[in-house]
């Protein structure tokens, strides 16, 4: 393992979003929503969006999990609020690329606070934490689950979610 300073992971801006998340809660009026969970660590992000035509008028998230997953969700909602759907998906692509390109690529300015998460790319096991909120965003905007089709928990299979990761079987 390469020694990576933790300061690149736990930047003050990330901890600040974790402690004081933006747009946290629910929307009384929303048109789409999605709920994703990482079964390995139990992190969850649920987002609700009020779409007006192709525009994200309102967005809120709720969830639980590590600082990276929750800060990412907070930053993401702040960024895509009041943008066009197509722009939100573009930003999701740019962010995903930043996670996979590592620290060498210069972060795209349009990512705003999310640029602080660039250091996560050096911690491969944590990349999926940063991407969780974007999975929720893509699900809600794209092939996302409509409000009335978000499933009830299935007694054996768990809630409706996208599995990003390998299962765990150890004691």
């Amino acid at each position: 393992m390469v020694e990576v300073p933790l300061t690149s992971l736990y930047q003050e801006l990330i901890l600040e979003h974790y402690r004081h998340p933006r747009n946290k809660g629910g929307l009384a009026n929303h048109t789409v929503e999605a709920h994703v969970a990482n079964p390995v660590c139990g992190d969850e992000v649920k987002i609700q969006i009020l779409l007006d035509g192709g525009r994200i008028e309102e967005i809120a998230f709720d969830g639980q999990g590590c600082s990276i997953s929750q800060a990412s969700a907070s930053m993401m909602t702040a960024l895509v609020k009041e943008t066009e759907r197509s722009e939100a998906i573009r930003l999701a692509d740019v962010f995903t690329d930043m996670m996979h390109d590592g620290e060498d690529a210069s972060p795209d300015k349009s990512l705003g606070d999310l640029r602080a998460l660039q250091g996560v790319s050096k911690f491969p096991v944590r990349i999926r934490c940063a991407l969780l909120a974007f999975d929720a965003l893509r699900n809600a905007l794209g092939e996302g689950l409509q409000v009335d089709s978000v499933g009830e928990p299935d007694p054996v299979g768990g809630t409706v979610h996208s599995d990003r990761s390998e299962g765990e079987t150890t004691h």
Binding site: L6, L9, L15, Y18, G65, F123
Partner: protein, 405 residues
Amino acid sequence: MALRAQFPALAQEVGGHPLVYLDNAATSQKPQSVLDALAAYYEDDNANVHRGIHELSRRATTAFEGARVKLAKFIGAPDSAELVWTRGTTEAINLVASSWGMDTLGDGDEILLSSLEHHSNIVPWQLVASRTGARLRYIEMDEQGRLILDYLPELLTDRTRLVAVSHISNALGTVNPIREIADQAKQVGALVLVDGAQAVPHRRVDVQELGCDFYAFSGHKMCGPTGSGGLWARRSLLESMPPYQGGGEMIRMVERDTSTWAEIPHKFEAGTPNIAGAIALGAAADFLDEVGFDAIAEHERELLSYALERLDDMGGITVYGPTDLDERSGVISFTMGDAHPHDISTILDSRGIAIRAGHHCAQLVMQHFGISATARASFYLYNSTDDVDRLIEGLASVKEIFGPA
């Protein structure tokens, strides 16, 4: 040779720091003698068992069956034919669920589990219940993660066919009073299955003294190879149960439409088994016997006591599980204010300290405490108080980053 020095993996550095391995409830490291046993089988004796009329096959079969005798004795089984090799605890429980469960359970029958269980002692029963109409019931735990046995007389009914509980909880370290549970289960004629994955590595297990009917365990948590482990069951049960999988090794005669089965335990061991794994598991049992369970238990208790004391001194840490060390094994599940267990684990990893973060395949335990995850440090015979000190230093660094709870 010093005990720790016999484990090659422990001698490495991680991220520029000497490795501190505290994820033993997930899997243990392996001593050189186990690694040597694996290599010796492949280098010298590699052959299939029970069928070749040649020297290598004879040697392989002798070593393979010799390991069975060794492990049967290791867990106090009266007869080595009662020990079926499996890939581990999970397969052992699935074997019982698929074979005994599908064969004997019917509509309205009850399986009594506990909310402390690992998913591997829940999901197989959910699967069998959904196919047979059987019903699952649960023994609940108290605020310290101890099973509330006062409820047992109500939970055990004339419909209870099986009680399936862990010997020691992987998530909290709770040691369950198996004998007491088994005695009560017998009164209603229920069988008792014990998930021994966390017990066999750490204490002397005697399946006869426990009074259970099935006992499942894994090799990889007791210094043995992954993919090794076993199921012990009473001879009469194994003889009455239908095969679990079909194939070679498990038959007596095959005709066009029907077959007859081999004697136990081979009836349950279709296909070429994990020969190297079983032989090396025998070496692991020898290793643990040599160190001795009295010494192992005493050492782990000292580490547990020392670690709990240091965590308490540190403050801001919530430890889950029994406070009485007699009711607990060397597992410490904890949370730390705002710092999510995943973040704790990353910060410790950057200092070469391996712990586990998550729900530990025990989501019912997490739900009981109203949390989604814990950080878990778990000890084994090669850990030291230095390892605990390094853990505490690492947690101080977590506090620095996340601030006081």
